[in-house]
Symmetry: C2
Subunit: 342 residues, 2 copies
Amino acid sequence: MNTEKKDPSSITIRDVARKAGVGVATVSRVLNNSEAVTEETRRRVQATIAELKYVPNPIAQQLSTGRHDAIAVTLPFLTYPSFVERLRGVQHALASTKFDLMLYSADVPDNPGKPPLPISKLRADGVLIISVPLDDSHVQQFLNSGLPVVLVDLFHPDHHRVFVDDIEGGRLATQHLVDLGHKRIAFLGDAFDEHKTFQAMRERFKGYRETLAAAGIPFRPEYHQQGPHGREEARVMAAALLDMDKPPTAIFAGSDTQAIGVLDVANERNIAIPQELSVVGYDGIRDSEFLDLTTVAQPLYESGIAGVELLLAILQDEPATPQEVRLPLALLPRGSTAAPRT
Amino acid sequence: MNTEKKDPSSITIRDVARKAGVGVATVSRVLNNSEAVTEETRRRVQATIAELKYVPNPIAQQLSTGRHDAIAVTLPFLTYPSFVERLRGVQHALASTKFDLMLYSADVPDNPGKPPLPISKLRADGVLIISVPLDDSHVQQFLNSGLPVVLVDLFHPDHHRVFVDDIEGGRLATQHLVDLGHKRIAFLGDAFDEHKTFQAMRERFKGYRETLAAAGIPFRPEYHQQGPHGREEARVMAAALLDMDKPPTAIFAGSDTQAIGVLDVANERNIAIPQELSVVGYDGIRDSEFLDLTTVAQPLYESGIAGVELLLAILQDEPATPQEVRLPLALLPRGSTAAPRT
DNA sequence: CTGATCTATGGAACCGGTTCCATAGTAACA
DNA sequence: TGTTACTATGGAACCGGTTCCATAGATCAG
């Protein structure tokens, strides 16, 4: 529909070869500075390249080499700050490489159940899957495709991954509250899903229960609220907790977003934080600092960087066994937690 | 370095042609369901394709058609919610098309002055530039490259764009404060830069001054604070305003992020909002709702959608003159503004 | 019934690189 | 000085599609 575009870069490698009086193979060698080319011919070719303002066509390079020089990144729709923060890390890490970043959203509004990406037509050398709960059939597709995959914030035994120890994180948060003297500690988080790769919430909960048990505090099922992720949804769950006859004196929320929902409710009801209610979040997003929220900080930005680095390493070596990179967690005690009133 | 990858998709169009007993041209015709192919041969070819699980190699398609089936999106590093919101719109709009999304960050920490993207090696059919202040030399490069470009939240006379009327937005915010009876109205925003395509802040300021003038309120230069963007930076500017002998009774912040910085300071100093100080923001990010911040809402998500739609339309038609799509603004009066105390 | 027109189809060129392989020229060795 | 082993280089095949162009067979008009 458009035959004669303005094409300043329609100069091909053959034009360069002809003008420089060499063969195309030699030009190609100069471009990839491979093998031995006489210093003199190299200079001549380079001069011609500069003169003609020749730029190699990346698509042709891809076709003949089989490489794409691109990484596909899938992550949930960018509604939560933690995903964005991870993506920033990915972007940063990729910026200093030759790889481009192809972004795929796993969950487009129109099409909630859609498989994250059409693997067969993926034009990338590797895939980074961040926080997208995949079910087994998708995981299998990736394994079959032979495309290198790195999971971030996800777990599957057959895949490389970058992770934090969420059980430990659950312990850190809960132990902090126990240490402050709390006995009535609630957990507010996402609903669990057995069949998915996203297990973080389950593990945080596990750490919570272990710590309660170790402290000799019985687990009270009514103190465990679970529901869809989101600030609004968290408000509803927090309200349910605070409406109880014996409301908790501390709430451990599975994410900062949810913790902020708890703070909203406390604010509405004039419940003093931390005097009347202690709140701990999880993630360490930027807002947690502004809100003076005690939280278990995980290296979000760094996880993006680590994911890229791991993927690039795998692209080179193709290791036989799944590689794992563990990132550290840190409890950041801030103003939203204190000893309970006695 | 890796000669024999597992290659389930190493079946080529010629394999299909041979097996189906037709020519490659016919297979190609079936793939692109172009021209006339007998219903019978079509079926036979399709059966063979299914049987062999043949998937066309996208790179080869790109090479021969010259298309990329990808859109490059450049935007500032994802530090502010408004950029993310726009990106979400882009992502959503692209999801229902055949186009992939290649993400480029204009401002990588390591490399602040770096040109947004290496145009020559851009593997995309078009470019969407969102909120990235470009200087003229970059704009020129794009124009020379012949690559279709759409600007979102930016202005340049030679480029297509999606925009809001920021002068009008400045008027809306200021008029709202004037109508409430304020006389001492400050403006707090980014520093201007003549040579860039990002002119929004200047225009909001222009709307502010026009409205003041129309209301017969003299402009007081000391009520105009400008500095780098950011919540923290806004706190400093807000503090300067509130430290004055005759502090403003209302502050119009050029963005919600900056307005939130103002609220921070008010909160620290126990200045009652809106009784002692009215605050108006700009953008309508999600947090503005939670914070009950009066703001001039612009359609951020929709701007991403509109940008993609405009770009795709241009890809088809290549219109001779720059196209413009204007999106509406709306003042959302909320709890952060009220009449001044007399 | 025959020549003209149309339709479905196949072969081959093409997109623009990379790389295998053959070769001419030179260096090294005996 | 003759033979061998390199080295630098060019030609051509190749990656896997799309599409131009030629052709065989079918259809139609006179």
